[in-house]
Amino acid sequence: MRSILAFIVASIFCIAAEPLMRFDFSKAENGRVPNLGTDSQYAAQIQGKVETSGEILKMDGRTSKVIVEGTEDFDVSKNYTFMLLYRREDLPGNDDTNVLMDSFFAKPGVFVMSKYKNTFYANGKVDGKWAVDARAPDVFKQDDAEWHHVAMSLEYRLNWNDAEEWVEYVFYKDGVSCGKYQFKNVRLDKGKSLLEIGFNSVMGPPWSLGGEIADARVYEGVLSLAEIREIVLAQKLAKPAFTVEYKLTEDEERQLSAKGLAPEIQSAIRNLAIVVTPHYDWRAIMADAPKALQVLDGGESCLVLVNVDGHVGICSWYDRKAKRELLKGNNAFVNWTLEHWKKAGDGTMKSSHLELFEAIDGRVSSRLEEPPKRDASGKWHFDIQYDSDSLALSARSSFAFDGKRLEFTHKAASLKAGQTLHSVLYPKCSLRQLGENDALVVPEGSGVVYENPCVNNVRYATYYPRSVCSMQFCSYYDQAGGVYIATQDPWARRKEMLFIGAPGRLDGSIAWRVPYDNPGQPNEFDTSTSAVLELFRGDWYDAGLIYKADVAAMKADWWIPKLPKTTSRKDIMGNCIWVNANYSGKIPDELFALKDYLGQNFYVGDVWYWWEQGIGTHLSPTMRATPEWIEYVKVLKEHGLCTMPYMDGRLWAEKDRRGEDWMYSKFGHRMNIVSDGKPVREMYKNPCDTLCPATPEYQEHFFEFIRTITMQGLNGLYIDQLGAGLPPPCHVASHGHRYAEWFSSYRDGYAKLLRRLRDYWSSQGKEMVLSTEDAVEQFCTLLDIYQPYRWIHENQVPLFPLVYSGRIQFYNRHAMTTGARFQTTAEQLLNSEQPGIFMPTELLAPPNHELRRYAKRLAWTRHALLDFFNAGQMARQPVMLREMPRIRRFWDKFGTHFVTKPQVQCAAWDYGETRIVILINTEATPHSNVVRFELPSKQCKIEILSCDAATSSITIISDMAELEFTLNPRMLMLMVAYPESKRPQALMAKIEEDFVKVRETLSEPDPFVKHDWPDTEPIDATKGANFIDSAFIQGCRASRELGRIDFVSYATLCPGTVDFGDSPKKELVVEVACGEPKGGELKLFLDGVDAENLYGELEIDRNFKTATWNAFEERRIVFRKPVSGQHKLILFVPGKGFCNLRSWRAE
C-alpha cells in the first residue's frame, strides 16, 4: 500500500478554509442533517435503513443513502475538494457489496467518486458521455475494516489557452496523495441531479456504501496537501498515514535557550524537532550539537548541516541580517518519484509510482563524500551522496554556498530492471512564511505579484515554458528579504512549477520528467544544469535582475549578450504602432489614411486570417496562399505597410484537405504526440493532433511550408502557439527520440526548425520577421516579436520586459472598453511594447478623437525612446508619494479579466548614463502628485518635456529625485535625467524632434473628426426606427436581409434628426443581441461627439448573452438629463463584435 509505504512528514501549521458543505450526522433530526458549511441552502436528507451513533452514520449497503438537497445546480465543472470519513464493513446478508464498490460522493449521471474493488475511482461525464475516468489502483485492501479519510480534489486548470485546458483529479487517503490524473480539454457536465453521499441512485445498490461514514465535507476550490492533513489530524477516527510535525514545548524551548547555542544552531535544532524520523533525534543532537551539526558560515547567512548515522542534510538556512530561519523543518531540496513497471495482461507495460524525499526519507541513506571545503573566495563546496539498496536508487547533489546563493547540481539513477526514475523535483524547498507584507512573484504572463501568498493559499501550478510560466524562476520575499528559486536550464526543457502557499509555509518545487530508453529499463537523471536558491533583498525587480544575470551566465542560446539586437529587421525593431485589418480584397484605404495621419509606417495585424477566409482553416498545414492574397500584400508593401500572415506550428487539423484523408493520417498523424499511452489531441475549432516537432516529418514539412510562403514577398510569419502551448512529453519511440524526451520540444524541435529557416533566408539574402503567440523566453533569438495579449492579471509587473526588453519585441494587448484601451496602451509603451493592435475603425471613428490623438502621441513617444527600449535597461519603477486613484477595468476574458491600474502609470528606463521617467495620465481628469525616482548620478540635470507645456529643467544634487507634477487628461510627460556635465546631445535631439510630433497632436486638425452630422426629416423619437435606416453608418454592417446592424467594429450610427417632442424624454431604448457574451459599451451623443455631447452610456455586461445573434433584448440608456426638442442622435459602439443592434426609441 503506497499510503503505508509513504513516510512523509507533514506541516500542520495551516488553517483550511471553511467548507461549502459539512455534515455532522450527530446533528440529524428527523432524517435531516443541517449543513454546517458556508451555504445554508444545502441540507442532507438521510433515507433508507440507517443507524446513527453520535457523529457516525451506519449504512446498510443497500437502501441507506444521504441526499443533499438544493444541489441541482451544484456545478462539478468548477473546482472542489470532497472528503469523507469512512469505514467499510461486510454486513451480514449484504452479498452485493462483496465486490467492494462503495460510492463516496455522486452526482448521479454526471460525476462519481468512489471505491471500486481496491481502486480509488472517479469519473465524470463530458457532453453526455463518461469520459473522465481516473483510477488509482491498490489504494484499498479487501479485508480492511479501519476508518479512513478519503479526499479528492477536482481542479480545472483553465488558462484561457486553447492548448492548456484540463481537469485534474488528485486522490488522498488518510492525508497522503495516492494518485493524480489529468484530462485535457474537458469540462464536466453540470447535470441537474442531487449530490449523494454513500449511495449512487443511478448505479444502484452494488455501489452503496456498506459500513459507516462520518464528517462529509465539500470545499470550494482545491485544498493543499497541508490543509487536507490538518483536517485529517483534527478528526479522531482515521489514523493519519503521515507523521506529524512537532513543536517544542515551553520547557524544551527553555532548555534550548539555556544551552547558549548560536541562533542558527538553535534554529537548526527546532527544525530537526519537526522532522520526526528515526535517524534524527533532536534531543540527542541538542545534547551534543557540535558533534551532529556543522555551520557553514557565509557571512550574511549560514547553512547548518546535520550528519547523524548515515543521514546528512541541510537542516537550516539562517538569515543573519533579518535574524530568521528561512527553511521549514521538513525541507528537502530534492524529491524522486520511481516508476515500477510490469507487464499487463494485454502485453503492454504498466507502471505505478513511488515518491521519495531526500534527506528526510528513512529509506534513503546519505553521506558527505568529504567534509565541506571553503575555496579562496569563501564559497563552501560539499557533495551529498544518496543511496538506497532496497529501492535501487543512487543519487548525488553537489552544493556550493557563498552566504547568499546556494547553487547545486543533482544526478540520480535507477539501478534495477523494471524500475525507472519517473520524475525529480529539483530544486525543491519548503520555506517559512515571512513577514506580514510577504509576496510571491511568479513568471505568469509579464510577471505577477501575489501578496500574502501563505495566508491566501496561493497556488501557482503550471508548466514551463509557456505563456503562464515564461521564465524558470519564482521568488518569495518580504521587506526584509527573500529567496529566489530558479533552474539554469539553457535548453528550456519542460518542467512543472509548483509553488503553494499555506499558512506558515511556502512550498516550491520544479519537477522534471525523466526520459528513458525503454519502459522498465533503468535510467538516469542528469540535467547538466544547476538549481539556485538565493537570499536577496528587495522585491520583484531585484529578483528579476538576479534572473537576468543568471540567464546571461547560463549561456542559453536565446540570450543576446549585447544590445541592440542585430538579427531582427530594423522595421520591426523600430515599429511604433500596430493597426489591424481584415482582408477583403479591397484597397485598404483606411490604413493608408491612418498612415498619413500617424506620420509613420507601421505593421498591420490580424493578417493571419487573410489568406483563408473559412472558419478554422488557418490551422491546416495544407493551406496555401492564393495569388489574389499575395497581390494584396504587395499593395500594402508598396505603401510601406508590413504584414505577417498566420500559420499554426503546433497543431495539425484532423479535418484534412477538402475533407479527404489526404495528409492527415497518411502523413500528419504520424507526428502526433502520444503521452502516457494517450494520443494528445486538442480542439481548436476542429479536432487537431498536437505535433511532436522533433520528428523528421515535422521538420521537413514545416520547413518547406514556411519557406515557400515567406518567399512570396511577405515580411514574415506569425507562427501560432509556440509560446502558448507546450507540447507534453512524447512517448513515441518511432519519432526517433527517447520516451518523454525533454529535448524534443525546443532544442530538437522548434529551435532546430527555426534555425534552419533563419539560415535559409540568410543564404537568400532575406530577412524575415517571425512572431508567435504569448511570450516565453526561449525564442528571443529565433523570433523577433511576441504577442502577449494575455497579459491580463491583477498585480502584474513587467518582469519579462525587465529581463528581455530589447532582445525581443512585443505587440498586441486587448481592451474591451475605450477606458481600458487607454490603460493597456500606456502599459505597452512603459513596458517597451509596441502600442496596439488598434482596429482601423477604432482609430477612425469620429467619436474617438481623444484615443486617436493619444495613440499618435504614444507612438511618437516610443519612437523618441527607441534607444532606451532596444538598447537600454528598465530601471526601478518610480514611486508616487501621494495617494492616487486606481481604476479597475475590463481588459478581456483572459487572466483575471479585470486589471486595476493607477491613474498615472509610470516607468523608468536607462540608456547609457541617461535615465528617463515616463508618466502617462490614462484618465479624463487631471492629476497632480510627487514622483520619486533614483537618479543615475549624484548631481543630475533633469529636463522635463510635457505635451502641453514648454520644456523645463532642474538640477538636483542627490541620489533621489522627488518632483511634483500635474498631468492633464491623456497627457504624458518625460523626465530625462543625466549627469549634469554630460548632456546626451544626440539622444536629446532625437527626443526633442519626435516630441514635436507628440505636441502637434494637440493643435493639428483631426482629419477624421466629423461635424456635418446628417440633417434629415425629423424622426419621432417615441416611435424610433431601425438602426439600419440610419443616415450615417460607419464601422459595422447594415444587414438588410436580417434587419439588423452586425459586425460591429467601433460603430458610429446617426439616424439623423430626431424629434424628442416637448415633453422631456429620459432614456433611449435599444434592442441588443449578443450571441456570445463578450461585453462592451454603448455611448449616446446628441448633436456632436465631444465630451459635452455625451448624454448617456450603457455597459453591456461581459456575461450578457442572448439566445442567438438575432434574438434581441431591450436595454435602456438613461439620459444624463431629460431631452426634448430636435437633436441629431448619434450612437457610438466602441468595441468589436460584441453585439448586434436593431431598433431604437426614446421614452
Partner: protein, 249 residues
C-alpha cells in the same frame, strides 16, 4: 498557335545563335513557374489552375485577373480558382516555347477543407511562345458520372484594385470555342471602364459575396453540359496587346 513556319525557323535560329534561355524558369523558393516570352511575363502560381501576374517586357503590369470558371450542380457552384492544389506538368520548356498542363478540380467554397467536385477533372493546357503576347489555352474537362452541369467557362474576373490603380488599360482577349459550346468567336476589347465584348455589351457587376471584384462576363455565359457528354473541350486565346504597357506606364 498562329506562328508561321518561317517565324519558328527564325526563332530557332535566333535561339541557336544566342543560346536563349528557356521561356520557363522554376523558382524553387516559391514553387512557381515564371514564364517570359520576351513580350509577356506571367507566373504559374503554386497549386493554381491558371497563370497570374501578367507583365510586359519592361515590367509594366497588366491588370490582375483570375479565371472565374465554374461548374454548377444542384445549385452548388464549384470554382476553378478555389483549387489550391493543382499539379503542374511541364510538357515543353525551351527557348522557343513553354507548354504546361495544370490539372485539378473545381472546388466548392474557399476553404482548403472544402470538397472538390471529384466528378469533373479539369486539365488546362497553356502554350506560350517566344516573342508572342498570346497564350493559347486548351481546356479539357472530363466527367465521371452522368450529371448535367451548368458551366461557365473562360470567364475572367477582374480585381477591383487594378482598375483603380491603372485607370485605363488596353487588353485584348480573343476567345474561340469548339462545337461543344456555343461557337461564337469573339474579340474582347476594353479600353476603359466602358467594357465591351466585340460588338456586344458585357455584364459588369459586383459579386454579392465578394463585393470587391468586378465581374466581367463573356459571351459564353452559362451553358449546359449535358449528362450524356463525358468530355468537354475548348480552346481560348488570351491576347495581351503591347499597347497596354504604354498605357500602364
Amino acid at each position: 498557335m498562329k506562328a508561321t513556319l518561317g517565324k519558328h525557323f527564325f526563332l530557332l535560329l535566333l535561339a541557336c545563335m544566342s543560346a536563349l534561355a528557356d521561356l520557363g524558369r522554376y523558382d524553387s523558393a516559391t514553387k512557381h513557374w515564371e514564364v517570359d516570352t520576351g513580350v509577356l511575363k506571367c507566373t504559374f502560381f503554386q497549386g493554381c489552375m491558371f497563370p497570374v501576374w501578367f507583365k510586359s517586357a519592361d515590367d509594366a503590369e497588366f491588370p490582375f485577373f483570375v479565371f472565374a470558371d465554374s461548374i454548377v450542380h444542384d445549385k452548388m457552384t464549384a470554382y476553378l480558382r478555389e483549387e489550391r492544389w493543382a499539379t503542374f506538368r511541364v510538357i515543353e520548356n525551351n527557348a522557343l516555347r513553354f507548354i504546361i498542363e495544370c490539372q485539378g478540380n473545381f472546388c466548392y467554397g474557399k476553404s482548403p477543407f472544402n470538397k472538390p467536385d471529384d466528378n469533373v477533372e479539369a486539365i488546362y493546357r497553356y502554350e506560350l511562345e517566344r516573342g508572342s503576347g498570346e497564350i493559347d489555352i486548351t481546356v479539357l474537362l472530363r466527367k465521371k458520372s452522368g450529371i448535367t452541369y451548368d458551366v461557365e467557362l473562360c470567364s475572367l474576373r477582374w480585381r477591383y484594385l487594378p482598375f483603380e490603380r491603372y485607370g485605363k488599360v488596353e487588353l485584348k482577349t480573343a476567345l474561340r470555342y469548339n462545337e461543344d459550346l456555343k461557337q461564337e468567336p469573339a474579340h474582347l476589347h476594353h479600353s476603359s471602364m466602358d467594357l465591351r465584348l466585340g460588338d456586344h455589351p458585357v455584364f459588369l457587376r459586383r459579386e454579392p459575396a465578394e463585393n470587391t471584384f468586378l465581374y466581367l462576363k463573356d459571351a459564353i455565359g452559362q451553358q449546359k453540359w449535358s449528362a450524356d457528354s463525358t468530355e468537354l473541350r475548348f480552346e481560348t486565346r488570351l491576347c495581351f496587346d503591347k499597347t497596354a504597357q504604354e498605357v500602364n506606364k
